[in-house]
């Protein structure tokens, strides 16, 4: 409808949202704690504004304050909010209800929780129209239209489904349809894709971007993911500890950042081509401050490498650092030349795959042969793993990637013995077959295989102290007692960069990063040979993630351990892994050296995964001249992007032939994909792909004669 409108900034209309000097406090145990301080920003008509920040930065609090949805103990203690010129803070109950019903819509992270589980999806959308005054029948008709607009292929069927019958991506579409049904002036998206898989995330983001062009809605996009915000937003505000520390046009903030925190955040994300052997990641030292902590001076001073005395005494005002671009930093002029962590080489290990000369035969530590795993039996049997054959080489990192439900975690748990594989499967550790479960597994094998779980809150017993938690593996697996136990404990604590004073604390008293360090110390306590890292950084903030990845890489170099590294974050996998296995519906579709798997030619599924992930790569080279005509940064809109449509099929009823054929953009017209499952065949030395398309043709299709990155 309004696709050809001029630039939002140039539009003659008043802005949709004006936030000025907003302060929000929460009352905790009788004390007021400021969680948002002096935040000001403006979202113009049809503009998309991104709020980025790590956990506790106050980004969701800002969103809740806008529509007065703050928790009981929270209140706006200063500043003003204007939505279409109206002030929600001074509204009567009825006006507020109308504002929430008509003017502002919100979409949250968990689509499952935003929908009423006992009402069919269609009814829930129709309700929005009924509130707007339409009759029952026409509301239902409009609901079907709405579902079509959010690109649901079969709206009729989705209308009749209950929320639990919808997949995550489908449910989020329904939520977006509901949010847009009232044609709001302002749409608030709070981490709308964080709970979704990469390929689904890409679809939802495309959908939102497409809808923005059709509708006259302004968007406030809240996310911790810089790449997503860079892709989706015209303007960006970076929040840290409740303060907006940098604000400006998206391409300026990301390519010419003028605040040390923004620069630090951008630097600690592994870039394409950056690998563990090429040096450490830049991590921001220290930890995020507690929400509500009272700080004098600059909120970032504690962790800033450019800090001067002035920063600690007086909070910096917003400095103009360009057109519409402000940064709250006294040293904003020096930020572009901000020193990173000096490039340090990892201590070279005495042996290991990384340093092994070309041509030396790698030596497998673990061999997995025709591994199958079926959950349940009879009608309800679900095949989680089908004929998996993988060798894990000594000292390497094998990355395991795939969407949720692909069997990554089941594979790891089966290897560890937490889940018993189907009879006939063979897993050997140094040529010795492993017992199928943990029962009766000899101490030596227990010691050899350990894991770092995704969520340290769940992996650490919350009632035990750090000392107890780290001592347990030393006692059980290493058989240490008394003085030698204490000695090793101190060593271990130091090697995960923690301090002795942490020993008496319980997990609940530690930050997320420290908790994960305790979990890593536990995994390394018994002197393991292979450690499974199951999404070890996905529950952590970006600035903490880099430090944990550095630690893992350092420990690997020092202890000569092998990693089986599971992650959905391809950037992280690429940074750490020597080889990659791509899983889909319990089958290995591709297996090979990291640079070949990422560089291509690769399996069409790998290709789709790679192109689904928004990334910040290429941003530094961005010059103003390279911008697209409409002024939006062309950061991630790669032309080669291939789209996956549809949902991941159910593992209980996998497609015939090649399991990927239902979503494959390169499916062959001969029909062979639908009928025959392609074998996992070696296409280059050490590189296996399970696809009917010959490698040379893939190479041409994917235009990747020369490996990228």
């Amino acid at each position: 409808m309004t696709g050809s409108q001029p630039l939002p900034e140039a539009g003659p209309e008043a802005p949709t949202l004006v936030v000025e000097h907003l302060d929000v406090t929460y009352k905790v145990r009788g004390q007021d704690r400021p969680v948002v301080r002096d935040v000001s920003f403006t979202v113009g008509r049809r503009e998309s504004y991104g709020l980025v920040g790590e956990s506790g930065s106050g980004k969701s609090t800002v969103a809740l304050a806008l529509t007065r949805y703050l928790a009981r103990n929270g209140r706006v203690s200063g500043g003003s909010i204007g939505i279409n010129g109206l002030n929600p803070l001074a509204m009567s109950r009825e006006d507020l209800r109308l504002l929430r019903a008509r003017t502002v819509s919100m979409v949250y992270q968990e689509p499952g929780r935003a929908l009423n589980p006992s009402i069919r999806a269609g009814r829930q959308i129709a309700e929005v129209f009924e509130i707007a005054g339409l009759g029952k029948e026409s509301s239902l008709d409009r609901a079907v239209d709405m579902l079509r607009r959010v690109q649901i292929a079969d709206p009729g069927r989705v209308m009749d489904r209950y929320p639990h019958e919808l997949s995550g991506g489908m449910a989020q579409r329904v939520v977006i349809a509901m949010a847009l049904a009232a044609e709001p002036s302002l749409l608030i998206l709070d981490e709308p894709t964080t709970a979704l898989d990469a390929t689904v995330e890409a679809e939802i983001l495309d959908l939102v971007a497409g809808l923005r062009e059709q509708m006259s809605t302004s968007v406030l996009f809240i996310s911790h993911n810089l790449a997503v915000v860079a892709k989706m937003c015209d303007r960006v505000g970076v929040l840290y500890a409740g303060e907006l520390i940098e604000e400006g046009p998206a391409e300026k903030v990301f390519s010419a950042s003028r605040h040390p925190y923004t620069v630090g955040l951008l630097r600690c994300i592994p870039r394409r081509g950056q690998r563990k052997d090429s040096g450490r990641l830049d991590a921001i030292p220290g930890f995020l401050p507690q929400p509500g902590q009272v700080m004098t001076g600059c909120v970032f001073a504690e962790r800033c490498s450019l800090v001067v005395d002035e920063c600690r005494q007086q909070p910096p005002p917003g400095f103009d650092v360009g057109l519409d671009h402000t940064a709250r930093c006294y040293r904003h002029a020096d930020v572009p030349e901000m020193p990173g962590t000096p490039p340090q080489d990892r201590p070279p290990g005495p042996s290991g795959l990384l340093d092994s000369p070309e041509g030396a035969t790698p030596d497998p530590i673990v061999k997995i042969r025709s591994l199958d795993k079926t959950f349940g039996s009879g009608e309800s049997a679900v095949k989680a793993l089908t004929n998996v054959n993988i060798e894990v080489m000594r000292g390497e990192t094998l990355g395991l990637v795939g969407e949720s439900g692909s069997g990554k975690t089941t594979l790891a748990r089966t290897l560890l013995g937490l889940t018993e594989p189907d009879p006939g499967s063979v897993i050997t550790l140094d040529e010795t077959p492993l017992t199928p479960g943990l029962r009766g597994r000899p101490l030596d094998q227990l010691k050899s295989l350990q894991i770092v779980f995704q969520n340290p809150d769940s992996a650490l017993n919350r009632r035990r102290t750090v000392r107890w938690l780290i001592s347990q593996p030393l006692k059980r697996l290493a058989g240490l007692t008394g003085g030698r136990l204490n000695e090793r404990l101190t060593d271990l604590v130091r090697s995960v960069r923690m301090e002795n004073r942490h020993l008496s604390l319980r997990p609940g008293q530690l930050s997320g990063g420290l908790k994960q360090r305790v979990a890593i110390a536990r995994a390394f306590g018994g002197g393991p040979r292979l450690v499974v890292c199951d999404e070890p950084t996905s529950a952590l903030d970006v600035s903490v993630q880099a430090a944990i990845l550095n630690l893992l890489a350092d420990l690997q170099a020092k202890e000569q351990v092998t990693y089986l590294f599971i992650s959905h974050d391809l950037g992280v996998v690429r940074y750490l892994s020597d080889r990659i296995a791509v899983l889909y519906l319990g089958r290995v579709l591709e297996l090979g050296p990291a640079e070949q798997v990422f560089g291509g030619p690769h399996h069409p599924y790998t290709e789709a995964l790679l192109s689904a992930v928004p990334s910040l790569d290429g941003l530094d080279q961005q010059t103003p001249a390279a911008r697209s005509p409409d002024g939006r940064p062309e950061i991630t809109l790669r032309t080669e992007r291939i789209k996956l449509t549809g949902e991941i099929p159910s593992a209980a009823n996998p497609p015939s032939g090649c399991v990927f054929h239902t979503r494959c953009p390169r499916r062959l017209s001969t029909g062979v994909c639908e009928t025959t499952e392609p074998p996992l065949a070696e296409v280059e030395p050490g590189h296996q792909i399970s696809c009917h398309i010959p490698i040379d043709q893939l190479r041409v299709l994917q235009g990747s004669a020369a490996p990228k990155g």
């Binding site: 504690e302 769940s458 650490l460 930050s511």
Partner: protein
């Protein structure tokens, strides 16, 4: 910030806001600040003092009969009046706290310990163990409590020990079921897998890893059951299977005197009944506050 950081030297933000579980002192402060807890604990304390020092506090010997002053209405000399043997009702109410406050907690403790062990085993092992024990628990729960208690007491003979065993065994399956549910939640947590990967034995995992995490559930269950135990003991005494006359006992005294209600001697029944009610109410107030603090 200092009260939130466990170590004064910690860098800001390093030590996250102490979780209520991790810092018992903070929990105690929250508990003490609740008025309901204060009232409940006050009444409870009063009855505990009565139970321990009853004979010293009581204005009369609870067993001393004054046949000339029988069925005397409450007066300056006998605040709660006298019963049909002329015994002082106030003295009997005060001293009557002793047996019930001994039997009920010990019985509940027995039920909680047995129930916790059973629940841990059912929840942790699952499968056949859970099915078999679960059926037995259900079978026990299906039996009418009073009849089982009757038969047992008639067979063994009434005594404090019998009462404790009966009430304890009756509570065991109830507590086991609650604990089992809590254990099932814990079983989803990765720390159990982590312990198994260290080669820990089931007993260790159950008692050293899971038990501390389900302890709050057991504590709440204990206090809830304690209220029921008071009822159960008073009921059994009322029916003549508990504390035997002439020992002062609330349930027993109600049983001896309720026949006289028709004659207008209400005080002989009302005051022991009020004693039971106040004790149970006090327990419920304390239980509610503990539950709120634990779940917050």
């Amino acid at each position: 910030m200092s009260e939130l950081t466990a170590t004064p030297s910690a860098a800001p933000g390093e030590v996250a806001v102490a979780h209520a579980f991790a810092a018992p002192p903070a929990q105690w402060r929250l508990l003490l600040r609740k008025p309901t807890f204060g009232i409940g604990a006050g009444i409870l304390l009063f009855w505990l003092v009565c139970a321990v020092f009853g004979r010293l506090i009581a204005p009369f010997d609870p067993l001393a009969q004054q046949l000339l002053a029988k069925n005397g209405a409450p007066s300056g000399a006998h605040l709660f009046g006298t019963d049909d043997l002329g015994r002082d009702v106030l003295a009997r109410v005060i001293v009557g706290a002793r047996d019930i406050l001994l039997i009920a907690p010990v019985a509940t403790l027995l039920g909680a310990v047995l129930g916790a062990m059973l629940g841990l085993a059912m929840g942790y092992f699952g499968g056949v163990v859970d099915t078999v024990l679960g059926r037995i628990v259900e079978a026990v729960l299906a039996l009418p409590v009073v009849i089982v208690a009757f038969l047992f007491i008639v067979a063994v003979g009434p005594s404090s020990i019998t009462l404790i065993l009966v009430v304890g065994f009756i509570f065991t399956p109830l507590i086991a079921r609650t604990v089992r549910t809590a254990v099932l939640v814990e079983r989803q947590q990765d720390y159990l897998a982590s312990a198994r990967l260290l080669g820990e034995r089931p007993a260790f995992i159950m008692f050293a890893e899971i038990l501390p995490n389900v302890l709050p559930v057991i504590v709440v269950e204990f206090t809830v059951r304690l209220g029921y135990a008071i009822f159960a003991v008073a009921t059994l005494s009322f029916l003549g299977f508990g504390v035997q006359q002439p020992t002062p006992d609330w349930g027993g005294d109600i049983a001896t005197n309720y026949g006289l209600l028709g004659a207008g001697y209400w005080w002989e029944t009302l005051f022991p009944a009020l004693a039971i009610a106040s004790l149970v109410m006090a327990l419920n107030l304390v239980t509610d506050s503990i539950e709120q603090v634990i779940s917050s």
